[in-house]
Every structure is written in C-alpha cells, then in structure tokens.
C-alpha cells in the first residue's frame, strides 16, 4: 500500500500532536471571537481565520491533520470535548457568549440528527425545524406539570418528535426524491400553521417554557463557587455539551456499525442494496425516526434554555437553516456540521454591522459553497475498515 509521506519524525512519534495543537488553537480562537466586541476585532479575527485556513491548505498542513485525525480519532475527540468544557468555564461570566455556545451546540446536535437522514441514508427531511419545535413545545407543555422530572422531559421531547413522524412513515417509504421532499415540506408547513391557529398551544404568541432542573438544582440560578458567581447559562452550556457529546458518540457508533453500512448502501444505490438483501425499508425507517428523535431532544433543551417559544421560530426557513448546516459542513461529516453550526450561529451574531443583511449574505455564502466546494467544508472521509492497516503496519 502506498503510504503518504510523514514530514517529520517528531510527528510520527506523536501523531495526534497536530490535531491537539489545532484543538487548542480553535479553543483560544473561539474564546477570542466570543469575547470580541468591537467590529474591527471581529473582522480582524475572521480575516485571520480565513488566512489560517488558506495557509493550512497551501502548505499541506490540512492534509497532515486529516491523516492524524483519522489515525487517533478517539483521543482527539476526547481532547476536543475537554477543550469545549474549558471554553465554557473560561466564558463563565459572559451571558451572551455562553448563550451562543449553547445554541451552537444544540444546532450541532440537531444537525447530527439530520445527518443520519441526509448524510447516511440519503433521505431528504425539510421539516427539521418542525421536529425541533415538537421537542420545544413538549418541554413547554410538560413544564407546567411539575410531576415530570425535566430530564425525562428531554426524552419525552424526543419521543413526541418520533411519534409525530410515525404518520409520515408510509408516504416517506413509498416515495423517493422530490416526491419525498414534498412530504416533509408539507409537514413542516402544516406543523407551523397548526401551531399558529391552535389556541391551546398559545397561538402565534407562543408559550413560556419552565427551566431545566436536575436533582433539585434550578438551571436558571447562577452557580456560585466560593464568592465567584457564574452566569446561569453555564448550566445550559454544560448540559448542551453533554448532550452533543452523547449524540456524537451515538451517531459515530451508528456510522461504524452494520446499520451505518447499510445506510450508506441504501443512499448510494437503493436498488442494488435491496438486491443484496439490505432491508431498505427498515433502514430508512430507522434513520428517519432516530434522526427526528434527536431533533426533538435538542429542541426540548433549546426551548428550556431560551424559556420562550413561538411558532415563528420553527418555520420552513429554519428547517432550511438546519439543512444548510448539514450541507455546508459536508454530508455525513459530523465535525463538518460542528464547524458549520458555529459559522451559522456565530457569524450573524458577531457581525452586528451586517445584522440587517445577514440572511442575504448567508444565503449567498451557501450558494458559493455549493457552486465551488459542493462536498462541504469538511467532506466526509471514505470509510476505513482497518485503520491500522491504512497506516501501513
């Protein structure tokens, strides 16, 4: 097997060094970007990021990093998670920055759910915001019932999204391509219209959502260590990080399992997969239900965090936003979704100057990515069945 050259002996000894350096740099960069308040600071940091990415691509560092990451992924993933926790504590008194971090994490989680559908099984779902909203509305309704522990509410949010997708199963399984797309689009519009005209669920004004509580600890009260008081968003950011981490592990396992392999087969050629005995309907059903359940869980936590929800937050455009995260990052690429979620959430919020033009700029950005880098920011790598053999051992 032709091996790719390793540039230095030091790197060969510690193949994760480059990845670790990137994680630490990204963490520091995220902190700097979140704390930056002046427009020139933000602009400078963004220019710096673009320059760094271009330089990495030019010098071949990006390719090195890619190999290293493939070689020692579990270690680097754990390190990235640790860096995220450190980042959250480093931002502990900045309300807005923590809200951004938690929002990014929840969008990332939702995008992972969509990734199972779009990226693995190749099913279009244009009602992502509807299932996300189903979770949020579940949290709002259950919040009034004190008997239900809020952690269970998250699970119930997922279950409600799953139950709502049951009536769609038959049309989804029978249709393909654009015909399947219209089923989810119709459901998304239906869901939003239903919420707007339904008086019990608050109508267009929406509902208040009770905060998260865990073992008697109210998430809307600020955690205090000694005499130091942190923002209450630390609670939500940590829980969102835990949720994102959990879903990440789950989806990664799924991808590496036989189910994931079957999903790839179904996406690439449904007819061929069926000929080889892949249970196409069962695989698609699994992808659709699991993805929507993940959307529902992340939506439930999102609802609790922002504490007020309205139908206007779960429109067709919001579904498109979620789909854009998946496509921008690269279909089926989890880390790509993470980067794309950060871009989609942070960029409009940090560039206050462009606040008014953000949707316009954002849609043009997605168009440019689709035209010139159709595989997304971080394309999903090919499956490696024997990682150690790849390295030439």
């Amino acid at each position: 097997m032709t091996d790719l050259p390793i540039s230095s002996t030091a790197a060969a000894a510690r193949p994760w060094a480059a990845g670790a350096a990137v994680i630490v740099t990204a963490g520091v960069y995220a902190w700097a970007l979140l704390m930056a308040e002046e427009t020139w600071q933000v602009t400078g940091l963004l220019v710096l990021a673009v320059a760094a990415v271009l330089a990495a691509l030019k010098t071949g560092f990006a390719r090195r990093l890619h190999q290293d990451w493939a070689a020692s992924e579990p270690r680097l993933n754990r390190l990235a998670f640790a860096a995220l926790i450190v980042l959250i504590f480093a931002l502990s008194d900045a309300h807005f920055a923590l809200l951004m971090v938690a929002t990014t994490l929840l969008y990332f989680t939702a995008a992972m759910g969509l990734n199972i559908q779009f990226g693995f099984a190749g099913m279009a779902n244009f009602a992502g915001a509807a299932f996300f909203g189903a979770g949020a509305y579940t949290a709002a309704v259950l919040g009034t019932v004190t008997a239900v522990p809020p952690l269970l509410t998250l699970a119930i949010g997922g279950a409600v999204a799953l139950v709502l997708s049951l009536p769609l199963l038959l049309p989804i399984l029978r249709t393909t391509g654009h015909y399947a797309a219209v089923v989810t689009i119709a459901f998304g519009v239906l869901f939003r219209t239903f919420l707007e005209v339904n008086e019990i669920l608050g109508g267009p004004q929406g509902l208040m959502v009770a905060p998260m509580r865990l073992f008697g600890w109210d998430f809307n009260s600020a955690p205090v260590i000694g005499s130091y008081e942190m923002s209450f968003y630390v609670n939500y950011a940590l829980l969102a990080a835990a949720l994102a981490g959990l879903v990440f592990v789950l989806v990664r396992r799924l991808e590496r399992s036989w189910i994931g392999l079957h999903m790839d087969a179904v996406r690439l050629d449904e007819t061929a997969a069926a000929c080889f005995g892949v249970p196409v309907a069962r695989i698609k059903l699994t992808a659709f239900l699991l993805g929507n359940a993940i959307l529902g869980v992340s939506g439930a936590l999102y609802g609790m965090m922002i504490s007020f929800i309205a139908p206007a937050s779960f429109t067709f455009s919001d579904s498109l936003l979620l789909v854009s995260i998946v496509l921008l990052g690269g279909l089926g690429s989890l880390w790509g979704s993470a980067v794309a979620a950060a871009i989609v959430v942070l960029l409009p919020e940090k560039l206050q100057l462009l606040q008014e033009y953000r949707f316009l700029l954002f849609s043009i950005l997605v168009m440019l990515v689709l035209l010139f880098r159709p595989d997304g920011i971080l394309p999903r790598p090919l499956r490696t069945f024997f990682a150690s053999r790849r390295a030439g051992k």
């Binding site: 119709a186 519009v189 949707f359 316009l360």
Partner: protein, 306 residues
Amino acid sequence: MDFGLIAQYLANGILLGTMYALVAVGFTLFFGVLDVIKFSHGDVLMLGTFIGFTAWMGLAAIGVTNPWVQLLGVLICSLGGTALIGAAIAKWLVLPLKKAPQLNTLLITLMLGTAIREAVRLFYPNGSNPKAFPALLPDAAVELGSFSLRADSVILVLAGLGLIGVLSLVINRTRLGLAIRAVAQDEETARIMGINYTLVVLATFAIGSGVAAFAGIMNGLYYNEINFGMGLILGLIGFSAAIIGGLGNLYGAILGGFLFAGLQVIGAALLPFASAYKDVFAFAVVIALMAWKPTGLIPERSSDRV
C-alpha cells in the same frame, strides 16, 4: 348553506386554482427538461410582481392614466423581465449544477429564493412593508342573489385559463414545444437530432418564469396587495400541486393546482371546527395523497422499481 355562499366559494376556488396551476406549470416544465426542482420559482414570481408594480409606478409617473394601457405595460415589463431572470438563473445556477446531486440543486435554488426575498426586503424602497397593488381592472359586479360576481375575477380567471391554453398549444403544436418535449424525453437523443439543448432549456425556464409572473400579477390584482414574502407560500403550494399532479406532466400540474385550491376551499367551507385549519387540512391531504400515489396522480412514464 345557501346557493350564494357555495357559488362564492366556488368562484374563489376557481381563481385560486388558476393561480396555483400557473405556478405549478413552471415547476413541471423545469423538471421535464432538466429533472431539477427550481425552488426559487416562488420568489422569482414575487420579483416579477414587484417589477410589474415598479412599471406601474413608472407609467403613472409619466402620466399614463388609462388602466388598460397601464395593465399592458405592467404585463409586458413583468413577464419579459421575469422570463429574462428565469433564463439567467438557468444559465448561471442550474445548468452548472446539472451533474451535482439533486439535493444540491434543490438547496442552491432554495438559497437563491432566500437571497431574492431578502434583497427585495432590503433594497426595494420601503420593501419590508406590503405595497398596495393598483386595481387596474374594472370593479363592476353582477349581483346574483347573495352572490356577487366581480368582473375583475372573471377577467383574471379567463386570462389565466387562456394562458394555460396557449401554453398547452405551444408545448403540443409548435416546433419549440416539440423540442422541449424531445429534451424532456431523452436529452442525448434530442442533442443527436440537432436540437440546441441549452437554448431549449433557457427558453423553457423563460416561459415557466414568465407564466409564474402572470400568476403573481393575478395575485396582486385580486388581493390589491403585494409583499416580499408572497412568493414563498405560492411557491410551496405550486410545488406541492406539481408533485401531487405528477412531475413532468402539464395536465398533472393543472390538476394539482385546482385540487389544492379545492382542498383549501373545502377546508375553509366545510371543516366543522375552524376555517383557520384550511391549510393544515390541505397539506395533510397532500401527505395522504403521496402515501396513496407515490409518484403523483398522473405518474411519470418511466420509473425504476424494486
């Protein structure tokens, strides 16, 4: 329920159906020649309506007061401009992505739709507020009991149906229509037979967009109001109509358009609890129809099955 009310619902349904059919026809034409869904269709329609509105303001400013002349000017500017925009989108955004996965084309046109919508909201003077579209048609009405038949509705429906008829003639009776059908059936063979593929695709997109602009003007004349968001819902409905009718089939799109309008009217008139649920009802029936007829009421001729 008395006769007048039923007639009123019926008239309303026919008008809506004509409008939806005109939008759905575009989707089905584009799908026919390129096998793509151009989701910016609804927003292109909105842009066309705004072009028409601008043309009306221009005509009013230079002192043209005859409503028929104004209407003619509005239609020429709107349909012509929108046809050019549609062809431009096909040339620079849709054709380059011909080899890409379907999802990418769908997404790029969805994003283009967002961009157009936002651009109109931000850059059209006072674009974020609804605009009062002028009533250019005579507002006489015939009273039949409790039912009043408005002259402008009749003219709009007749014009819309006439346009659908002309379109059907163009597709079935002209050389251009023959070329469009040939490309839709088999692109490779059509090229071998000497058909200018790119030109046919551009012409199809121009025709489809122009027809949609007509639907937009219809919408403006009927409701006397236009806004930057009108394209999104009309596009969604048009797409659903084209799908339930069966993509790639002109009559399917017309059937789907009238069916959707019928569902909305039935939802508004007959649902016992509240007419507010009419769209919920219509979209729920769309989902049920997809479960029953997965490739639309008039299916495509070729489809692979397992």
